[in-house]
Subunit: 235 residues, 2 copies
């Protein structure tokens, strides 16, 4: 946790915060913070700043806070991601958010197992927690928008073309026609398939609405790895 993310409910009064629960435990056990220590803080959806611990005991932490700086800039990308296995979903969301991805569409695909859509990890509460963990890691404060599209074709055919608009539209695929571009200067919509990749019919649908399929060489990488690799390459 490189930044303690605060919400309105944390404020006892203006400039004064009282923390309990997960964040308090983390600050106490991992940071081993003491009275007088300063912590990086951020207001959810707002500025980052510094908190000075006034009091810390076994039950809670109190600090005075001041806000100073804007959060880091986002990446100009909208991520369209075939729903990963529940086990992988949490760290993929946290990693995506930590890198500054603020728009994520989780979509269905032939190779996404039906059961994944019933996972409790898809609850709004869990997705928000994973996003917060990503923000706390990166030192960011702006929550992403995460949408779920349980039907592939209606989303890709009817909604995605408007979303793409003038943006560069790429679908990562091991059999992609060309290498993924580097250091692009335009906003991107990036689609990443499931383990095993999108099937040909799905790739065809992406191509019909203007996506270019791009490859990453011969290696097959895990979704978290592909995602970070592509962010490094594209931006």
């Amino acid at each position: 946790m490189n930044l303690v993310l605060l919400e309105y409910e944390d404020f006892a009064h203006e400039g004064y915060v009282r923390l309990l629960g997960r964040r308090f435990e983390h600050v106490r056990r991992v940071h081993r913070a003491a009275s007088g220590d300063e912590l990086r803080i951020g207001m959810i959806g707002g500025k980052t700043g510094v908190g000075r611990i006034e009091r810390i005991d076994d039950g809670a932490l109190e600090m005075t806070v001041r806000f100073e700086a804007e959060p880091p800039a986002p990446l100009p990308v909208r991520l369209v991601l075939a729903l990963p296995r529940p086990k992988v979903l949490n760290r993929t969301i946290a990693a995506a958010v930590s890198m500054g991805i603020r728009e994520i569409d989780l979509i269905n695909s032939w190779r996404v197992e039906k059961a994944y859509w019933t996972s409790p990890k898809l609850s709004e509460e869990n997705l928000r927690l994973q996003a917060i963990l990503g923000l706390e890691q990166a030192g960011d404060t702006i929550l992403p928008t995460i949408r779920q599209h349980e039907l592939f074709a209606p989303f890709v055919r009817n909604e995605l073309p408007q979303i793409v608009g003038a943006r560069l539209a790429l679908v990562a695929d091991p059999g992609g026609e060309k290498p993924c571009p580097r250091a692009v200067t335009t906003p991107v919509v990036l689609a990443i398939g499931p383990e095993g990749g999108f099937i040909e019919r799905e790739l065809e649908t992406f191509r019909e609405i203007g996506f270019t399929s791009v490859n990453l060489g011969k290696r097959i990488l895990r979704v978290e790895t592909v995602l970070a690799y592509l962010m490094g390459r594209l931006f």
Copy 2:
């Protein structure tokens, strides 16, 4: 597992393999493979190819194998990595290997907790298993060399300069002087610090032997994320 990695002990006779244990269980349960199915295979340290399942039952799998192609090319990078937390080590090694990193030096740093060096995850056996998982993911066959350096200064001062030689030497640091270069054409030695980063004295030691400290913008990312992000950016 996108490739079943074979060793000499797996061969019943030339061109004929009998699999038990982890790989057999994976092929049976995850791939749900049946007699007659073909699997991507690779000989450890050698070529990749195709295995045709001749027999599969509750106890073992037998297949005829043929080797056809060279494994994918490695990345021209030597990774000098501050020993991560044991929990993070496994997936960092697997991810590094999956991307084609074949030389890894695990080093000490002020912010690496002493206890990490006593973790059973540092056993040769476990590191080899994690490397194999990375190879199986990527479709590669060449095991990396993983070295452990429990003392920072003797390794960095006395051994690393010879290792660097004519290679581009970079140390990733949030306070780094310049942005990380892109699409380099020379081999690289890349050092990545622990959570919290290298301390100033360590960075100074790296700079004394010719390393340039490079930043990744304002965000603080997890080691697995940084690693993939930098590979995408550098190569």
